[in-house]
Subunit: 369 residues, 2 copies
Amino acid sequence: MKIIVGGADLSNAVMKVSKAISVRTTNEILEGIKLSVKGDNLTLIATDMEIAIEKTVMCDTYVEGDALIPGKIFTEFSKKLENEDQVEIETEENGRIKITYGSSEVKFAALPVDEFPVVKKDLRDKTFSILQKDLKEIVGRTVFCCSTNESRPILKGCLFEVTGDILTAVGIDGVRLAMAKKKIKSASGDFKVIIPARALGEITRLLEKDEEEITFVSENNSLMLEVDGTVFITRLLEGNYMNYKQLIPTEFVTTVRVGRTSLLNSLERALVVAKENNNLVKLDIKENCITVFANTESGNVNESVTVNFEGKDMSIAFNSKFLCDALKAVGDEFVNMYFINNISPLIIKPYSGEEYLYLILPMKINSQV
Amino acid sequence: MKIIVGGADLSNAVMKVSKAISVRTTNEILEGIKLSVKGDNLTLIATDMEIAIEKTVMCDTYVEGDALIPGKIFTEFSKKLENEDQVEIETEENGRIKITYGSSEVKFAALPVDEFPVVKKDLRDKTFSILQKDLKEIVGRTVFCCSTNESRPILKGCLFEVTGDILTAVGIDGVRLAMAKKKIKSASGDFKVIIPARALGEITRLLEKDEEEITFVSENNSLMLEVDGTVFITRLLEGNYMNYKQLIPTEFVTTVRVGRTSLLNSLERALVVAKENNNLVKLDIKENCITVFANTESGNVNESVTVNFEGKDMSIAFNSKFLCDALKAVGDEFVNMYFINNISPLIIKPYSGEEYLYLILPMKINSQV
């Protein structure tokens, strides 16, 4: 292959696909970025066998062909070519790839391009479309609840389920569950996949145009989407997701409405002290007031937060960090908190609307607190 | 002691002095922040016995007195009080410090305040004053050349020397030397100290008003300065600094004038490849052109940079990182480079003016390159 491509185009494309380069592998093939030239197009692709990212840019083509270039050093080098008008890339017969810019050049040893895996990307089975800003919101509200634990691999992903015109996303680890809902723009029908949390993280990084739609396409165990000419493909998690609906209680003893930021501020201060004791904070919930306690060798915090209260008094303990996560994700001015007793899940919802639900299991109350 | 202080004032003051809290110590006293209340003033101070930072804020005083509070957790906690109008701080008889804000409170175990070291700060021997922006520039151009090696402790500091109305700062490690000069605003006379690099780093972080003056005061082995009500004191390094002037050659064989950013870009690209070989790059200097070579297993870079040239051709090798550091510090559009031969120091200066000089020793040319 032999082409000329703009330095900024090249640098940008390499940066995008480099996110899929395998970092922890003994297979050097997966550390490469594959360049393919056909017609006026240079296509770059990288994959670690879980996700794949592909980006095509225009080029002036002298000779079509393919090459596989060591990904990490090529990425670092390309960043420093972004101000070059013209970058020439040429494969040499000695198995090297020569890159020429201005009156300078660099050569890298090519990897065997034939060994690079084929990434299937013409998926066509099921689709749905959603606004980019809605996808960003729904991922931001759930993905942090996915498990990072290998013991139940299925929970390392988010459930994405479309029914009618509503997308429901769910993340669960052992202790908490987050569920977010959003209206979608269109769908080919019902849709149900489990997307690895890491893939969702990379997908949201590609989203730059809030008001534009993005289309998910799935077939068998693969999911594909395209953002601004960048094609993103991920393997889906296979197996049965937890029956999350049956985890969510519907009858409660105590209901509290509280200003989100005032409770969040109190919990964050308590967390400073609670850190050395597994983040454990105790909440005493009474008429008009939640008192937040954290007692450790570092210090003793005693915070009062005014609330609207209905039901029975209650003493209950939580991982303060997980409560803070919930209050950050809710994003409303006020939140509703629904308690049953000090060994049953707490449900947190925004005061307005049904678009978000967070469930968290209490911690056992330590006699010290 | 018992006072009321604004949350933002407290948070800001704690943040400033916390930079002097000792982090690697077995002496818990030095991990504390001392609070002293006298009249309407709350004074906070922390020291690790090398540097000390003191900040005074206004407060409403009910009872004067002192207290020593664990620094790390107090710093973290204070950050989360910055939106509180009023924070009450009170020492309790049980050896605790109670902090009350709104209807909430936290208690920390006090440390024995009498054991906190006395920091001498009424220095008065020698002084000079310089614009903050000039100090920032002179430090930025030299401090990165200070040694980090314990074998010659004196080189872990910058020489600051005032002669007439010129401040000269010098940093030296084993391989390179940076010297920067600036006109000062006033001085009590000649001035010569060696300031630890770490202290200079902390001092520049305090500088926020470019056009205001800052005054250095030294007495014996201490240096003090005050920025916007924050008093900074540092121990000085004692001993004889290297006779740096005799290290700087004055006769050269080859002189080159080159565009700073074009050479910097080339060296940074070469560095990507050279990293795995101690950053070694070779420069071939000929009529009108410097060619930069880096050859490693990762790849081969061959960069051409156009120059104005006078003298003999030359092949010479350097640590590319150190050359890049110099070119970043020079900050002029063009730089002059003065060569003798491939085992003698290279001198780099800005094209205009004599305010900066950088000296770097070559590396031995490896036959591979």
